[in-house]
């Protein structure tokens, strides 16, 4: 048979998933990204770029009006920008998936014109690394809602502590910085973590993720 390039025969995917409870995993080797992994992660990121643009026009005017009086509340929306990292991780399930997806999404913002300039790239890296750490803590074997929530929280912590505290909110008092961080963590947990997990599961149910482990969990649940 013409072996699909750079993938193991897919039958082995199913066997691999049988051994690891309900979680289907990516084909081995874990770092052997398939072409479809790269293209899908990049396309997801670009699509989130479109969504963010829609978010700005649909929702943001309401929120920015609401948060002018209490700026840290704006950080309750941080999770929206972290969803690409969590979704990339949950779909691709390989080391680097969160970082790559979030970084491409940041590039979309950079080229489209944005309000933070090249700082979005730095944010993208930090946000991606937060989710990468969460994946690594579960040894790239668990991709449930707990991993997603932890990823969302760590992503927010990396972004705020390593970057936003030094720039956007550098002069806040310590108490306000802590409140700001808390708002970001809650948002990362709920919007990026829980929201991202529900999103990927819903996408898998439509058959759109059939080439990926979440699609396999839906289609062959008995083998998983």
């Amino acid at each position: 048979m013409t072996e699909p390039r750079n993938t193991k025969l897919s039958g082995q995917t199913a066997k691999a998933s049988r051994t690891v409870r309900a979680t289907a995993l990516a084909t081995r080797p874990l770092m052997g990204w398939r072409g479809v992994d790269l293209i899908t992660a990049a396309m997801l990121a670009v699509a989130f770029g479109v969504v963010f643009w829609g978010f700005d026009t649909f929702i943001y005017p309401f929120l920015s009006a609401a948060t002018t009086g209490f700026p840290p509340a704006g950080e309750l929306m941080l999770g929206v920008w972290l969803v690409p990292a969590v979704a990339g991780a949950l779909v691709i399930r390989r080391p680097g998936a969160a970082l790559f997806t979030e970084l491409v999404a940041a590039n979309v913002e950079l080229f489209l014109g944005n309000k933070w300039g090249a700082a979005v790239l730095l944010s993208g890296v930090l946000q991606g690394l937060g989710v990468e750490l969460a994946m690594a803590l579960f040894r790239h074997r668990r991709f449930g809602v707990v991993m997603a929530v932890l990823g969302g929280v760590l992503s927010a912590v990396f972004e705020i502590v390593l970057y936003e505290w030094q720039s956007y909110v550098a002069e806040y008092s310590s108490v306000w910085k802590a409140i700001y961080l808390g708002c970001g963590m809650v948002s990362g947990a709920l919007i990026a973590g829980v929201g991202g997990w529900f999103l990927v599961r819903a996408l898998a149910r439509t058959g759109a993720l059939n080439a990926f482990p979440p699609g396999q969990e839906v289609r062959e649940p008995h083998s998983a």
Binding site: V36, S167, A170, L203
Partner: protein
């Protein structure tokens, strides 16, 4: 699709220019041996391919036929070695190309939708993708590109923008991209099914002559057999169970199985045209009386539409081109009549359907709902139908868009079709009965509990039709409703159209399908956005050749001066980033003012002299203001200077960063990251290809919003309603994105995207990534400016 330029036949002699010549790509055709091939995707009980064995001699030309779902495309993907790219499953048996299991560059696959294969912004670079993937040296890449473009009769040069191509031209470009691999086996998956008849003819000729000249073995899948039987020498028929049911020379095989193929729905040459199915009129009746037959329901009065291109990640420096989609068009939709909109691709048919359905707004002129439609809409309804509320519009209109697969609004097939009736508060039992009837007629009953996203393209189109008519609209607007239908489902679709018309609905059809046009009562012929006299129009069958100078080539931005204009993308990016890293060292207002003063002093030299691009800068300036305010508010002492310091610190990197980034071309940046920084090629190439989809995905987003509006599901005014709408649009967009990514992956893998990982040498790059003295100067300046705060803090 609706506003692409019309397809053109290349003018005689256009291809002999020096830029477009190259050695012909001649190969020895491949011998293909398929042995007992079986494939069952996970989640399906029955295999899609069941024990297929075939021997295809070198240089022969084979047509694969069979009813929908018989595994034709799947077999083609198996031959290309990309079967498992987008699906997982159980695979047994073997495919040997010239006795070898690894296909490599010897196999080329061309897909149904020409847009799926696009990976670059310029024609030459797109064709170069395959040769790049297989690591050819630069001079060979370009000679391959020229030869391939010549072979398909491409009318433009290598610098032509891929965005400006019509569907037919894009498909010829995709063919050139396949031929540039010099494949010994060429695989074509319904290469003309998405094109209008004129464009399809041109593409067919390009395929026939290019493949004949190259000597490659050809295997193709087609629904419409009649166009191809002359061009192939063997016909292989698959049955619904995924087995070979007939195989042999075209004429004899066709004579033997024409009857059974036609009965299974295949469009077979020589069989009489199918008739519209007899559909009960009650299933299609309008909910509100539309007045006597011929009464005008909607009138479009001298409407024009001009389009500005939407925001793009790829067009930072390019002047926007304005497209005139419609110019001074009048049209009337009348109760109980069927109006056909005809004309070549890009003539404005789809644009006109969106206006007549109230989901698009004219730039000039007015589309009005007339008296019968206005009943019950409330006092003083807006004159223009595109200003009506989502519910008012949904109660009176049904619309099937050209991309019907995007029209999904429910979780199950039944729920989807019912959703508008429920939103409008119609009697639920009656609505359910009507929905069941429609699903039965359209062959979707067995699927009524299934997620609509799992349906095939043809099924989704019929689902969209059911959803558009189930709630009893008075006007039904259908854009290409018969595309992708076999003989049997065509009859069902045509039957619904006829029944709707006879029940008093005003029906509008935009279509290329001659059988469907024949059912219409009136006809409007469009060409280049204007109504033309059909009598005159029928004479002009060959479209005009492209006007010289009208080619929208991607030229270097004019009028950019300054060091940044002469710098490459890498130095611009690096400078933007070092400024971010320098900002935290600004500790007091004095430092901030000096650092920004240095930037302002350097600005004319770096950025050139001219008006600043305020539209790009505005969000950044707003951000600076909001950072200043919040830091003042929440800082311990509430000093004004504290807020100012925080704002200026951000301004230090935001303003120059935004201005420099606007001059980076992402595709050039990719070339530089790959060649200068030696970053892994595949992630870069995937990212650049994905960035080119941004605009298309944005259009998709707009289309989803239109569909929800005409189905009565448009956003309400409350933030919560808007949030819900946003979530639904996001979900729809992501599904389409994932599907597109899968098809892209197949097309890119077929052109060797991942080959460098396993066999071939490193990927090469068709274009150089020079680092010039200007780049060094730019980077040095950036480091100095970024270092100013650090320097000051040491003094």
């Amino acid at each position: 699709m609706s506003h692409t330029p019309p397809d053109t036949v290349p003018p005689e002699g256009a291809l002999t220019g020096s830029a477009l010549t190259g050695a012909p790509l001649v190969v020895q055709g491949a011998l293909v041996e398929v042995r007992d091939l079986t494939w069952r995707p996970f989640g399906r009980r029955e295999p899609v391919l069941a024990g297929i064995s075939l021997r295809i001699e070198a240089g022969s030309r084979v047509l694969l036929a069979g009813p929908s779902g018989s595994g034709k495309s799947t077999l083609l993907r198996a031959l290309a070695g990309v079967l498992a790219t987008t699906e997982t499953g159980d695979l047994t048996g073997s495919v040997l190309i010239d006795g070898s299991q690894s296909a490599g560059s010897s196999v080329g696959l061309m897909m149904q939708d020409p847009a799926d294969a696009l990976v670059a912004g310029r024609v030459g670079r797109d064709v170069a993708f395959g040769p790049e993937s297989f690591g050819l040296p630069r001079d060979q890449i370009w000679s391959r590109v020229r030869s391939a473009l010549t072979a398909v009769g491409f009318p433009y040069d290598e610098d032509h923008a891929t965005k400006a191509l019509s569907g037919g031209e894009t498909q010829r470009l995709a063919l050139a991209g396949v031929l540039a691999l010099t494949p010994r086996l060429v695989l074509l998956d319904e290469p003309t099914s998405m094109l209008d008849p004129l464009a399809a003819g041109v593409v067919r000729e390009a395929i026939v002559s290019a493949v004949r000249d190259s000597g490659a073995t050809l295997v193709m899948v087609e629904h419409q057999l009649s166009d191809w039987v002359e061009e192939v020498d063997r016909l292989v028929v698959l049955d619904p169970a995924g087995r070979v049911s007939d195989d042999g020379p075209v004429a004899t095989t066709l004579a033997m199985s024409a009857g059974s193929l036609a009965a299974q729905g295949v469009w077979v040459p020589g069989e009489p045209a199918p008739r519209p199915l007899d559909v009960a009129r009650e299933l299609c009746a309008p909910a509100r009386p539309g007045g006597p037959t011929g009464r005008v329901l909607v009138s479009a009065e001298s409407i024009s539409v001009t389009r500005q291109p939407r925001a793009s990640v790829m067009s930072a420096n390019r002047p926007p081109t304005v497209v005139q989609a419609l110019a001074g068009v009048d049209a009337e939709v009348r109760a109980g009549e069927c109006l056909a909109l005809v004309g070549p691709s890009g003539a404005g048919k789809s644009t006109l359907t969106t206006l007549l359905a109230g989901v698009g707004a004219p730039t000039q002129g007015l589309v009005r709902g007339r008296d019968e439609l206005l009943a019950g809409i409330g006092a003083n309804p807006p004159e223009a139908i595109h200003r009506w509320t989502s519910r008012a519009l949904a109660a009176r209109f049904g619309w099937v868009p050209q991309q019907a697969e995007q029209a999904v609004v429910g979780r199950t097939v039944r729920g989807d079709v019912l959703s508008t009736s429920r939103r409008l508060g119609l009697d639920d039992d009656a609505a359910q009965a009507r929905v069941e009837g429609l699903l039965e007629v359209l062959g979707l009953s067995a699927l009524s509990g299934v997620d609509p996203h799992c349906l095939s393209g043809g099924e989704q189109r019929r689902l969209a039709l059911a959803g558009a008519i189930a709630h009893g609209p008075s006007v039904l607007v259908l854009d290409e409703p018969s595309v992708g239908q076999d003989r049997l489902t065509w009859s069902a679709v045509a039957g619904v159209v006829v029944a709707a018309r006879d029940a008093g609905i005003g029906v509008v059809l935009a279509t290329h399908d001659p059988l469907l046009i024949a059912l219409a009562d009136r006809r409007i012929t469009l060409r280049e956005g204007r109504i033309v006299d059909p009598a005159v129009d029928s004479v002009i069958e060959s479209p005009p050749s492209p006007a010289p100078g009208a080619k929208p080539a991607m030229t270097a931005p004019a009028g950019l001066a300054g060091l940044a204009g002469r710098s490459g993308p890498l130095s611009l990016l690096l400078v933007s980033i070092v400024l971010v890293l320098g900002a935290p060292f600004i500790f007091n207002l004095r430092m901030a003012l000096i650092a920004i003063g240095v930037q302002i002093a350097l600005a004319p030299m770096v950025l050139g002299v001219g008006r600043p691009p305020w539209r790009r800068l505005l969000p950044g300036l707003f951000a600076v203001a909001s950072v200043s305010f919040s830091n003042w508010l929440l800082s311990p002492g509430r000093e004004v200077s504290t807020g100012a310091l925080a704002g200026l610190r951000v301004a230090f990197f935001v303003v120059p960063g935004v201005l420099l980034a606007s001059r980076i071309d992402p595709s050039e940046l990719g070339d530089h990251l790959g060649q200068r920084l030696r970053l892994p090629a595949r992630p870069i190439v995937a990212t650049v290809a994905a960035l080119y989809r941004f605009e298309g995905l944005g259009e998709h987003w707009d289309q989803l919003a239109r569909i929800r509006r005409v189905r009565g599901l448009g956003p309400s005014r409350s933030p919560l309603g808007r949030g819900r709408s946003l979530a639904a649009l996001t979900f729809g967009l992501l599904i389409e994105t994932l599907r597109q990514a899968g098809r892209m992956a197949v097309a890119m893998e077929a052109r060797g995207f991942s080959s460098a990982v396993t066999t071939a040498p490193r990927r090469t790059w068709a274009e150089p990534a020079p680092w010039r003295p200007g780049d060094s100067l730019m980077l040095a300046l950036g480091l100095i400016v970024a270092g100013v705060p650090l320097l000051l803090s040491r003094l």
